[in-house]
């Protein structure tokens, strides 16, 4: 799941989510269908409080940079948004064919493409990008599925350390890319939409400086980039719309500005005075602004789906007694926390399953007791369970961000509720930056609230959820909910994952419910996308794959 770089960490690693369809259109051809009413020209300004830390394609995993890079980088495959639904379409290559043993994928380039400097995109560049993505020490933030799925992925350390000889990827002729896997990976074509797989010519790889001006293949290219502050994009003259089934080039330029006060930014966008009409704020709309979203301003709200779920995780290794976990669930003050967190039906929906509504296979089964994402919590009931289990005074501990009020408040509310239920609570405040490493350290002396606190689909299938979060290996990968180490469960999950996508879909729900019944994570809420756009912004639709507005379709109305 793509965590977002948003700073309010108790919301965890971001995102949002709803009904996604694993739709593919292997035959989509450029140019992309015109957006109705679209006009050309102007500069679109995008503002946000959160700052993407890097725009190196290999290092990109967060939703915001992911969306931004859709404007600049073409990847082997890509999503197009059709009627608000993401559809996987060929981009630089077709959607690939898999060998019978499911361990070799072949992708063929669909035409000839140029970089912004006019040179041709070679298939070797695609291969090089894949190799580069193994330099995980240099690009630690990038997606890491290749490390476990690709052949020798656990051994190869990337071209800088281990040179070009990597057996997991090979090219054939001028247009064929072959990827060898260590184990079946049915969703590989989805995975190849990540910017990490955009072609990078080896000769032009300036390593850690590449992010300052990565070579564009998309409709826009870097004009000026100030890391952490601003980015302007200008038109890429060497982009050919006729080869691109997903992107447009309506605006003349894009200007991204990061930092600033959330509400101030959004208020300005809402006011749309002068230049602000051309801007869009992609942070989720702040609850305090919601009363204004009536009348004309209601139209400025861009709603969409988002692929994420937030939970409160409990470490089953440390809280071994399920009754304690049930007691926590019983006492859990969902409603108070939601209100404190500023949740509302624009931005969220109480969760009761693991798979969010957008993931095919999501089934809204009857929520298990105390796992519906709502309710005031029942301290008395919880205390009873705890007493019965003989664990009154059991210590629950977690980290929270003590530099921001909302996480502090949430921690306090949670602490109060659990204390009332007879637990002993130890809430440990740490600084924002510390928090990331602390909650990511599974050996840290806390038994709840470890990372990831939220999860978003990397692609719309159950296999980007259950196998990632609940298998025993998840612990080593630092992406475990509940720290389950159950070989039987592992096997069940693997079995489903190895099925072809369409067959697997139906089977995820049952597993979902089963895991839920183990009380390993208290589901809290699914996210929705709700951002504000200036009055002059057109074509802003939600990109459900990342829970952001879909930039390639945006234009200025005048």
């Amino acid at each position: 799941g793509s965590p977002s770089s948003k700073n309010d960490t108790d919301k965890g690693d971001t995102g949002k989510l709803q009904a996604q369809q694993a739709a593919t259109d292997p035959n989509a051809k450029g140019p992309a269908a015109e957006v109705a009413g679209a006009k050309k020209g102007g500069t679109i300004t995008i503002v946000a409080q959160t700052t993407p830390s890097t725009l190196d394609p290999t290092d990109t995993y967060y939703t915001d940079s992911n969306e931004i890079e859709k404007l600049t980088f073409r990847t082997p495959t890509q999503y197009d948004i059709r009627d608000g639904q993401p559809v996987l379409v060929p981009d630089l290559t077709d959607l690939g064919t898999v060998s019978a043993d499911k361990l070799t994928w072949t992708f063929k380039m669909t035409g000839t493409f140029k970089y912004e400097d006019g040179t041709d995109v070679k298939v070797e560049d695609l291969a090089y990008a894949i190799k580069r993505s193994f330099a995980h020490d240099v690009y630690p933030n990038g997606p890491a599925y290749q490390l476990s799925y690709f052949k020798d992925g656990d051994k190869y350390k990337g071209p800088y350390a281990d040179g070009d000889n990597y057996s997991g990827v090979e090219t054939q002729g001028t247009d064929t890319l072959i990827i060898h896997l260590a184990k079946p990976f049915a969703d590989l074509p989805f995975y190849l939409t990540f910017p990490a797989f955009t072609p990078i010519p080896k000769a032009k790889d300036t390593k850690q400086d590449y992010k300052n001006h990565p070579l564009s293949t998309g409709p826009y290219m870097f004009d000026q980039y100030v890391p952490g502050t601003s980015l302007t994009l200008k038109k890429n003259p060497n982009w050919d719309p006729n080869t691109d089934p997903a992107r447009h080039q309506y605006a003349d330029a894009w200007s991204f500005k990061w930092g600033g006060e959330l509400v101030t930014l959004q208020q300005k966008v809402l006011n749309s005075a002068g230049d602000d009409a051309n801007s869009l704020a992609y942070d989720e709309v702040d609850a305090s602004l919601i009363p204004q979203l009536t009348g004309d301003k209601a139209n400025q709200l861009v709603k969409g789906e988002s692929p994420c779920l937030y939970t409160f995780n409990m470490d089953t290794r440390k809280i071994t007694d399920i009754n304690i976990r049930k007691a926590i669930a019983k006492a859990y003050p969902y409603d108070a926390l939601s209100k404190a967190n500023g949740n509302n039906d624009y931005t969220s929906e109480p969760a009761s399953t693991i798979l969010p509504p957008g993931v095919p296979g999501h089934t809204k089964y009857t929520p298990l007791p105390d796992l519906a994402g709502t309710g005031a919590g029942d301290p008395a009931g919880a205390k009873k369970i705890l007493t019965d289990a003989g664990k009154l005074g059991f210590e629950i501990s977690w980290y929270y961000d003590n530099t921001k009020p909302i996480p502090q408040q949430i921690s306090n509310i949670r602490a109060d509720a659990l204390t009332k239920a007879g637990f002993k609570v130890k809430a440990i405040g740490v600084a924002t930056a510390d928090l990331r490493s602390k909650v990511g350290d599974y050996d840290a002396p806390v038994n709840t609230g470890q990372a990831p606190r939220g999860w978003c689909s990397d692609w719309p299938t159950g296999s980007s959820w259950l196998p990632v979060l609940f298998e025993s290996k998840s612990i080593a990968e630092g992406q475990s909910w509940g720290m389950l180490q159950d070989p039987a469960l592992d096997k069940k999950i693997e079995d489903v994952a190895n099925l072809p996508t369409d067959q697997a879909t139906g089977k995820w729900a049952a597993l979902d419910q089963e895991i839920m019944g183990m009380y390993v994570a208290l589901p809290w809420y699914y996210t929705k996308m709700a951002v504000v756009a200036g009055t002059n912004i057109g074509g802003a639709v939600g990109d459900a794959t990342v829970g952001m507005p879909f930039f390639p379709d945006m234009y200025l109305k005048s």
Binding site: L262, V263, L289, P291, G342, N412, K426
Partner: protein, 340 residues
């Protein structure tokens, strides 16, 4: 300065030694009272109605802080109870001022604003007053030593003063609490809420004190440099008065006025600084009720729930205004040249 008493004497020529002692019955005898310059200044201050009003406001806020529990009890609320039943689905309070919640409640959480307001005066005032006190003591001592002893001590202290004044204090203030926390042995892995609150409090006071004493020290040093040249200091030395007595018995009483003035002007600065640092996220932490925290939280609601923001802002502004005016009045009262 004119003498306050006019006592002309008349004696036969020649007996001039006693010329000034015996007053003549002729003159309107101005009543004489024994007043120190401080007393005179205070007397003038008492006559200054504006100053008294400002003092009243300051005392009023102090009383609020002191009697916060009582006031909250009077209202029947506390600072932490969530009244989420009074919050709508978007987090907005459904009530404004009621007899139960005098100032309404917080959005999102529904905590009682009046209780938080009265309790919130405490950290502001405690931080401001203790920092003012600490900086005054350090600043005065450093300034006295530096100005009076001169030589290398003066050079060292002056340099340190320059140094501290050259540091961008807020940058340090932002960076330091984390460090102070760990230095104080509050291993973050162990710290619980109350520990964090306490250490933030101490960190805040330490940081503000560290940066606050220098300007006072510079001021005092300047005063001492000019006082040092005054002949009464030489007079004391001629009489063989030891240095420490010269410093504290002769010099210090003359610095009372600048110290009081500087202090009264520093107090509002620290009130604002506490709020500002909290606003930047490096001040106090939840659930401590503090005006700074409230303001910081409320800024997003400036439009949706204006009173939430403006009540503490108004409180701070009024308090600061009162203190600044009081400072001005004190300055005027201590300055014999001002006659209003």
């Amino acid at each position: 300065m004119e003498p306050l008493i006019e006592e002309a004497a008349l004696e036969p020529k020649g007996a001039s030694i006693d010329a000034m002692t015996a007053p003549t019955g002729d003159l309107k005898k101005v009543e004489t009272r024994h007043k120190s310059p401080t007393q005179i200044a205070l007397a003038r201050l008492r006559k200054d109605r504006l100053a008294m009003v400002c003092l009243g406001i300051f005392i009023f806020f102090i009383l609020i802080a002191v009697f916060a529990p009582l006031l909250a009890k009077l209202e029947g609320q506390d600072t932490t109870t969530l009244h989420q039943d009074l919050i709508d689905e978007y987090g907005f309070p459904t009530i404004s001022f009621t007899s139960e919640h005098w100032f309404g409640i917080e959005p999102r959480l529904g905590r009682d604003l009046f209780a938080r307001f009265v309790y919130g005066a405490r950290p502001s005032l405690i931080v401001a007053i203790s920092v003012t006190f600490i900086t005054a003591v350090i600043g005065v001592c450093m300034g006295l030593l530096s100005g009076f002893l001169g030589g290398w001590i003066d050079r060292v202290i002056s340099w340190v003063i320059d140094f501290v004044l050259s540091l961008p204090y807020l940058l340090f203030a932002i960076a330091a609490p984390a460090v102070i926390l760990s230095v104080m042995g509050d291993n973050p892995t162990e710290a619980d809420v109350s520990q964090v609150t306490r250490s933030r409090f101490i960190a805040l006071i330490l940081v503000l004190s560290f940066f606050g004493w220098a300007s006072l020290a510079r001021l005092i040093r300047g005063e001492v440099l000019s006082l040092r040249e005054r002949e009464f200091i030489a007079a004391a030395r001629v009489l063989g008065v030891p240095t420490h007595k010269v410093l504290f018995k002769e010099l210090l009483p003359n610095l009372v006025a600048p110290i009081i003035i500087a202090t009264s002007l520093a107090l509002p600065t620290y009130i604002v600084a506490e709020a500002g640092l909290t606003f930047l996220g490096v001040g106090l932490v939840e659930p401590t009720p503090s005006w700074g925290l409230t303001i910081s939280n409320a800024t997003t609601y400036y439009r949706a729930d204006p009173l939430y923001l403006w009540l503490p802002v108004l409180a701070i502004s009024i308090l600061v205004l009162a203190l600044s005016l009081l400072g001005d009045s004190i300055r005027d009262a201590f300055d014999p040249r001002t006659r209003r």
